[in-house]
């Protein structure tokens, strides 16, 4: 029972990070019809920002929000420099552009910083744990779960109760008609990138807080997982992205915990097998987007 609770906490923590990343992908996809594969590099940028903040001795409580801010700025620059010029192109062009941005950034990290993994100085507190009876829960897991929940609530509030949030939900459904409402296309898309950057930044901080290191390719695997989570949840659906993120977190952690040792090497394959099975049952995802199949922008 204790193992089960422990693993469930791990699952919520990992799933929460996947959910934040998948949400970032889904927000951009719902509005532009583009999967931003450079999303992971926003995480990496956050990681390097944390590393440099640590080196100059900034306390973590200042470094973390600062690193998230850097991710937001980076996301906005990405949109302005790389994606705006190709905004009205085909989905394939957008996809390849995002791959190009990812590779360029990875190469820059490798050449300008280091191809090797760099240590990130974190407060000791993060590595400690709290004990409840025989259960021990890491501080960084508690933080990660709390922060994920706070972000989800805030984002939900923003999308439901602010005019920009409403405009973004409208744009996700029908971009042309949203422009007929006098909503500036650039403002909505920049807003979407800012939010997606913030989500990647938060996920980046949580990711680095677990590992205390950062490397040029750090963002690739989590963003791939987030992409799977977004598809599992229903591509373009924000609720779906969260559901998919948590679902994938649970699948991975429970498989790691309960699969017999000799099957463990097939864990990833089994996890993806379960995802495929779920998609066979629900081809549009767990919580399908409202406008599946409609044209974007």
């Amino acid at each position: 029972m204790e193992v089960f609770i422990q693993q469930t906490i791990n699952a919520v923590s990992l799933g929460g990070t996947y959910a934040l990343l998948a949400l970032g992908l889904a927000i951009i996809f719902s509005i532009m019809g583009m999967i931003n594969f450079a999303h992971g590099e926003l995480m990496t940028i956050t990681g390097y920002s944390l590393m440099y903040c640590g080196l100059v001795g900034l306390p973590f409580v200042i470094a973390a929000p600062f690193a998230i801010l850097i991710a937001v700025v980076a996301a906005l620059l990405m949109e302005r420099i790389a994606f705006r010029p190709v905004r009205n192109s085909s989905g394939a062009t957008l996809l390849v552009t995002s791959f190009a941005v990812a590779v360029i950034l990875q190469t820059l990290f490798q050449n300008l910083i280091s191809p090797r993994s760099q240590a990130v100085i974190l407060p000791d507190m993060l590595a400690q744990s709290v004990h409840f009876g025989s259960l021990s829960i890491g501080i960084n897991q508690i933080l990660s779960i709390t922060i994920t929940l706070v972000i989800l609530v805030l984002l939900n509030w923003f999308l439901r109760h602010t005019i920009l949030g409403m405009a973004m939900r409208a744009a996700a459904e029908d971009f042309s008609v949203t422009r007929l409402m006098g909503v500036r296309a650039n403002a909505v898309i920049a807003g979407a990138f800012a939010i997606s950057g913030a989500l990647a930044g938060v996920a980046g901080v949580l990711w680095v807080a677990q590992r205390a290191s950062v490397d040029p390719l750090m963002g690739f695997i989590p963003v791939l997982k987030a992409f799977i989570a977004a598809i599992l949840g229903g591509l373009g659906s924000l609720t779906g992205a969260v559901a998919g993120g948590f679902a994938l977190g649970f699948i991975e952690i429970y498989l790691a915990a309960y699969l017999p040792d000799h099957i463990q090497p097939y864990r990833e394959a089994l996890a993806l097998g379960i995802v495929i099975f779920l998609l066979l049952l629900r081809p549009n995802g767990l919580v399908p987007a409202f406008n599946v199949g409609r044209e974007k922008v």
Binding site: A167, R169, E173, L180, M181, G182, R184, N291
Partner: protein, 238 residues
């Protein structure tokens, strides 16, 4: 004074010429019908006026100002708006959220937004009851009313209506057309694209008939109603 003038408008989709040199003008306070068979280029003309599809050639003037080259979101602030074909309400948003978005061209004026909201609820009482309902769950007729109300939230001077009666029950169509007349009487100029020729000519002051991307005939509603020009345009004999 003409509130809208379109001169020599051309719209292309790739190699396809959807609109070939359309010219028309609308006087302040008129209802003008733009008629024609499916694929004649009526919707493309409307979409080009509001900048949702690019104008390849030609001029569009609104109250003496050129609209060509302006982004849709800019020109709706000048007082032109379109209620698109197929209603296209934001189905996952509530009725009220749809209406609030419609008022965005007004800028930050919360008073006018509230005033317009009240006015829409007077004009379309059904929307009051459905205020918090998700728009996608409304009936077709209710969605059409919401789509029109959403357009009116920006206090437009000129309203372009694309197929407002499409797919609606005859009784609802009557209501919608009554409302179109009421809107004109309240001072809004209307350009109406319709498949329902008889009803359109009943409410319109004048009409233009399009076929294969060009205007083939025009005249007062009475003239068009009593001639065979429209039938010819629909049947393709020009």
């Amino acid at each position: 004074m003409a509130i809208l003038t379109v001169e020599g408008l051309h719209v292309h989709y790739g190699p396809v010429e959807a609109v070939r040199g359309v010219s028309l003008s609308i006087e302040d306070g008129e209802i003008v019908a733009l008629l024609g068979a499916n694929g004649a280029g009526k919707s493309s003309t409307l979409n080009a006026i509001v900048g949702l599809v690019p104008t390849h050639q030609g001029q569009v003037g609104f109250k003496g100002e050129s609209l060509v080259g302006l982004a849709t979101e800019q020109l709706v602030r000048l007082g032109v708006t379109l209620t698109p074909e197929g209603r296209r309400v934001f189905g996952s948003l509530t009725v009220e959220e749809n209406l609030l978005l419609g008022s965005m061209p007004l800028g930050k004026s919360a008073d006018r937004r509230k005033q317009n909201l009240e006015r829409m609820f007077d004009l379309f009482p059904i929307l009051v009851e459905r205020r918090q309902q998700i728009a996608g769950t409304l009936s077709g007729g209710q969605q059409q009313m919401l789509a029109i109300a959403r357009s009116l939230m920006s206090s437009p001077k000129l309203l372009l209506l694309d197929e407002p009666s499409l797919g609606l029950a005859p009784q609802i169509v009557d209501t919608i057309f009554d409302q179109i007349v009421a809107l004109r009487d309240s001072g809004i100029t209307i350009l109406l694209v319709e498949q329902n020729v008889a009803m359109s000519l009943e409410v319109a002051d004048r009409g233009y008939v399009m076929a294969a991307g060009s205007i083939v005939t025009s005249g007062t509603a009475k003239e068009l109603g009593s001639s065979h020009l429209i039938e010819q345009a629909y049947l393709g004999h020009q």
